[in-house]
Symmetry: C2
Subunit: 107 residues, 2 copies
């Protein structure tokens, strides 16, 4: 069971940005960044189905944002923080420290 985890330098920056440009995935990334460690996939319960969650984690992985460790039937996910900070200094910080996930719905 090989996981496709690309070299970060081989990922177009647009793919990285696209991966971050989704509410669900941003929540996941925030959670990962906040905890700092690794989390089982099942940890991320944001009112989405298993299938959808699996999909988003795949997008993140293939965009080079996360790394996954397989342990039995469980998969532990973690942010590739160091690599990201090295290749895109400031990007992750900027995104993570950004205001609220969705602004207070002022229209």
């Amino acid at each position: 069971m090989e996981l496709h985890e690309p070299e970060l330098r081989d990922v177009p920056v647009t793919a990285v940005l696209a991966a971050l440009a989704d509410d669900v995935r941003l929540q996941i990334v925030r959670a990962l960044a906040e905890g700092g460690g690794e989390y089982a996939c099942g940890t991320f319960e944001f009112g989405i189905s298993k299938a959808t969650r699996s999909h988003h984690l795949k997008v993140l992985r293939e965009a080079g944002l996360t790394r996954t460790r397989v342990a039995g039937t469980t998969r532990f996910v973690r942010l590739r923080r160091d690599e990201l900070d090295r290749l895109y200094p400031g990007l992750l910080d900027a995104v993570l420290t950004a205001p609220t996930p969705t602004p207070p719905t002022r229209d």
Copy 2:
């Protein structure tokens, strides 16, 4: 002719990221950033039609990334650099200094 230019703080960060997560738009943003000043829409010739270009410029504008000045039949576009740097410190720099627009197609 009112142009819809939102307050940056009212734009979800995912919208900003989505706006940047496209090759054509990223090229436009790079061009704007490099030049530093303002450019007529027609400046951006990336092998796309007028309609498509207009569309991308609209996306950028509505994501709060650019500001547009109308002068006769021409429209001048510029990056909202200062505001962006203030609200998302490091983001733009990170994106702009990123390697090549599309990595050397190694597959």
